[in-house]
Symmetry: none
DNA sequence: TCATTTTCATGACAATTGTCATATCCGTTC
DNA sequence: GAACGGATATGACAATTGTCATGAAAATGA
């Protein structure tokens, strides 16, 4: 896996490079010293993951992330922090970063990088414990599907349809035949008085 | 690394066991079928990570996690979900679970497990991408369709698709032929890298 | 004005979708 | 054990959907 490390302390970036490359699974394409370099390096090398200090002189990691993500919304950026700073962390998440890890947490470095490369988000506990506060007001009022005679299996199918899966994919997911999925869907549409899967997805997502 | 898998579908748990053990890095100590078993198995075997379905008959994964975490606050529990359910996810985080991954996401399974074992929290983008809404409800940034080369007329069509209309209906609405609508749609799907109108509706409603 | 682009349209085609009738397997109930 | 209902499957069918190649006509711009 190819990555780029950006930190204003060369000692830190070199240590990280050494540790990570020792695993044999990581190739550090470049090392940068500040946000400006991060932007330039990302542009030219396109690493799978950008491992970057959140606080730097010149241009901070946050600013660099903003610039990069504006152009490449799929960029995978993992921040390095020396100590936790709510302000920074929250901002980084809002920007679309994939998470952060403590510099001194060598143990999690490699697994976290890999998880991020696979599309996951990785965080320490500090943020997680506060997440519920943020998320709480969001809990959508749940529509009562059972009131309309929708069974458990049917609800599963509804959710998968609302995830954009095809009948074949749903069948694979639930270990049913494609025909059976079609039958379920047919019954669902009738119960909810809808016409097709798209209306069903819209219904699920907006009620 | 020693783990326990709990899922009410034996086929799923066996598949996971096979996949994970094939890596040579994971040892599946036990397999459970419901929340009750999860509690008992965790107690006796003390796995490094408990990989558990979030929805099960008998006792749900959520309830089991609650029981386990009440006694062992350091337990590392990673939930398996078939599809995203805000309600469950939020609850799981509040309880102190280490995150969740989609069952079908085989790729991230191993890296995620390892990251969790090292003390990190792991989850998908679904939750993260919604954070800005909660943290800065004022500045709901609209997705920039024009950045993807979506034209005005195309956007109109997207909105109608997300309203659940058929191509014929959209054509009537915009005074175009049905074929033209199909062509527009085709181009939209390509630009947004989506497969069909349902995915488009979902995309429009959730981004 | 000529060239080019944009907009809209057609028809052909394959794939997917939704409906329906029918059948099997299983567990429950009487 | 027979009857019944639920879960799952199949095949046939029509409609809808998405893709593609191609072209007409309107708008734009040099």
């Amino acid at each position: 896996m190819n990555i780029i490390i950006v930190d204003d302390d060369p000692f830190v970036s070199l240590s990280l490079k050494t540790i990570l490359e020792a695993s044999g699974e990581i190739k550090v394409l470049e090392i940068g010293n500040n946000g400006t370099e991060a932007v330039a390096l990302y542009e030219t090398r396109r690493p799978e993951v950008l491992l970057m200090d959140i606080r730097m002189d010149e241009m901070t990691g946050l600013e660099a992330a903003e610039v990069i993500l504006k152009k490449h919304s799929d960029a995978k950026i993992l921040f390095l922090t020396t100590f936790l700073d709510d302000e920074y962390i929250v901002k980084s998440l809002m920007l679309g970063a994939k998470g952060y890890i403590l510099k001194q947490d060598f143990e999690s470095l490699l697994p976290s990088l890999k998880a991020v490369a696979k599309g996951q988000n990785v965080f320490g506990n500090e943020i997680i414990t506060r997440l519920p506060d943020f998320l709480a007001p969001a809990s959508r009022s749940q529509y009562d599907y059972s009131a309309r005679g929708i069974t458990g299996k049917e609800l599963e199918i509804i959710e998968l349809v609302a995830g954009g899966l095809s009948n074949r994919e749903i069948a694979g997911q639930l270990y049913l035949s494609e025909g059976t999925v079609r039958n379920y869907l047919s019954s669902i549409l009738e119960k909810l008085e809808l016409r097709d899967r798209t209306q069903l997805a819209v219904f699920y997502l907006t009620t």
